[in-house]
Symmetry: none
DNA sequence: GATGAATGAGGGTTCATTCAT
DNA sequence: AATGAATGAACCCTCATTCAT
């Protein structure tokens, strides 16, 4: 699987003008939405002629794909993979500690890609079928590794005894419930630490049995 | 329970054709998005001439407003008001029981207005400033009544001793985290009972102290 | 030939609503021009439904005709006829005296029909062929009577010895040169007396031999 | 002598297609009027696509401005300036001689820009406020120079002893009275020499004292 | 006679895309 | 590779006109 770093290699093969086209598209799509951004707008912000926009990216739609594809195909899956890796990398730690660390990293990550996230959300809302490919890929990634990740903590009584997918669903649900409203209201970027605290504290109430929770905090 | 069309008193003054224009707009905006819906599409689905679309709704944008305004101004605030009313209406009941009932009703309600919700989300993502008016109104509604609603349960030990606004934020966050993904992926409408169970069970873990929780379930 | 009074008889056979339609058209056509006035505007100002506008006047164009025809077919020719009648009615008077009287009356007359005049000018500018019918009629009227009208004064040395049509052309040219700019700039209606003085004084310089002029003034 | 197209320096920066758009607009606006000319008509006559019409001239209204502005801002003021210059350039000549020369030149000039003049008249009739800017500019130009221009001839007894502005008003009134009807009836362009003779002869009667007039003719 | 909802042709305008330079 | 003029389909919207009530 490609990593984030790999994902950007394609772009580095672009000329400077083309990269500025890509960046302008990112900014404008995020700001005004895909349909409300004209290729003329893009050319103007990129500082090039309108024809240049189409030299490399044959189509406006291809431009959207060029903006979103690395995010959808590489970055988002990587978020999941890294999340699970964080949770399973040091099994000697208490689940609560790892969860906090993993959640914090992911929030930071998503906040750093807010523009892509905004565009992504816009597109999904208009055309949910876009999600299908991604979802199935993610489900595959998750299902193959998630059971062994959680079972260890469940055995130690540090994690509620739910179906592993339900735990994932719960965590991602709570995360989205907090993050989407913020991403969408672009003005004020979230305070990462504060949000992490609030989310994790709440998640722990639901996911970690009371006695194990106390233990984690006294440690 | 009122639906969008009941709520908008003006609608009853519309001719049949105009109502079908409104309905067609609702369907198409939800399905393809505002910008990807042409007024010709609307006319075709409404079974009228394109000019008819503009006879009552002077502008395509006014049509969007006519679709969304009752939802934003009447239905959404009502959801909040009803939610708080459900929670405070029968204070002799255990908080857990009322929460389940209130959450279930709201989910049903939102599911019945999925199309409006989809359009609303699309518009907010493109233009977050739309939210400002709504948010400030809701905050007002909530803040004036929410403290007295929760304090009773907190005194009985049936509700965690958080700031009332944080409780609201948590509940709505979890609800949104579950509902938005479903609303957005329009194909499969959510099973209300199942979702209610999952959300409430999780919320109770976080919001109701353990001992009070047991008590509620044995009752 | 019909007189102004006859010309309006047709209109009096209209219902009150239809008359208000006619009046509204006159006002709006004069103010904004024919093409920039919608039948909806007319209906609104006339205080009736849009359909009512078409009940009597089958076409918007027919409405324009209804507004202009009495002006073009009756009023304007009458202006000429009356002008010549004024000049020939009392041949014992000096030409200068009659000219002043005739010019004054005509200016007053035209000022009282400024709106029709404005619309007429607008239409002629767009479609000069409209003039042809009128011009040929007027030429006929003028030519048949004008020679005998002027020859008497020319014999007395009170009028320059030009071809009669040139005299008419000169008078109407000067009149139009003064009046059209004023009619077109609708804000300030002309002071009839002052304008008459200026025009007549100038016309006399050109049309009446010097010695006869002195005589007229000392009389 | 400059024509409209020479006067508008910007025009040279237009592509050939855009110049043909401008020329087509000039022709059609003059022929059928602004509102009765569709942008499709313009495109067809210019031999380009409708989109091309809007590439340079963002708006149909901007196209009208592009057609009229050089006429109103450059050519018309220049007509006045040149007229006064002609009258004051060779003070050793008799006023009558200079007037004939100046009138003739101006008539020729206006006849060469008949189309612009027609459009200009149409627009003024619809929206007289357009004139205000022009009028105030012209009044300024005239007032600052006109007194010294005429006083010399008045001192020599070659020009009636009127207020300078009244002389101007008279000349322009007579000119307009002759020219507007002709411009408006586009079919038959005026014979410049004949019209000049008629107008000048008449003007001299009114503007030049009799004894000076004889002198001018015997010279 | 009056109404006003409905019509549909046509108008101005935008925009992704092409192509000669 | 880059340009920007040109394109034409599609879009939103207006308006004179009709017709059932």
């Amino acid at each position: 699987m490609k990593t984030l770093f790999d994902a950007n290699i394609d772009n580095s093969s672009l000329s400077i003008k083309q990269q500025s086209v890509l960046k302008a598209s990112l900014i404008l799509f995020a700001e005004k939405g895909y349909e409300n951004t004209s290729t003329q707008d893009i050319a103007k912000l990129a500082g090039c002629a309108e024809g240049t926009v189409f030299k490399h990216f044959k189509t406006k739609d291809a431009l959207l794909k060029a903006v979103l594809d690395p995010f959808v195909n590489d970055i988002l899956p990587q978020v999941i993979v890294d999340f699970l890796k964080d949770l399973s990398g040091q099994p000697e730690e208490h689940f609560a500690v790892l969860l906090r660390y993993a959640v914090r990293d992911r929030i930071k990550y998503i906040m750093e890609n807010r523009q892509e996230m905004r565009i992504f959300i816009q597109e999904i809302v208009k055309n949910p079928s876009m999600l299908e490919g991604l979802t199935s890929r993610l489900v595959l990634v998750i299902e193959t590794s998630v059971n062994q990740v959680f079972s260890c903590y469940q055995a130690r009584g540090e994690l509620v005894d739910w179906d592993a997918m339900r735990i994932i669903r719960t965590i991602s649900g709570v995360l989205l419930g907090y993050l989407i409203p913020n991403i969408v209201m672009s003005s004020k970027p979230l305070d990462v630490d504060e949000t992490t605290n609030e989310i994790v504290e709440f998640l722990l109430q639901g996911l970690v049995p009371a006695e194990a929770r106390d233990e984690a905090e006294t440690r």
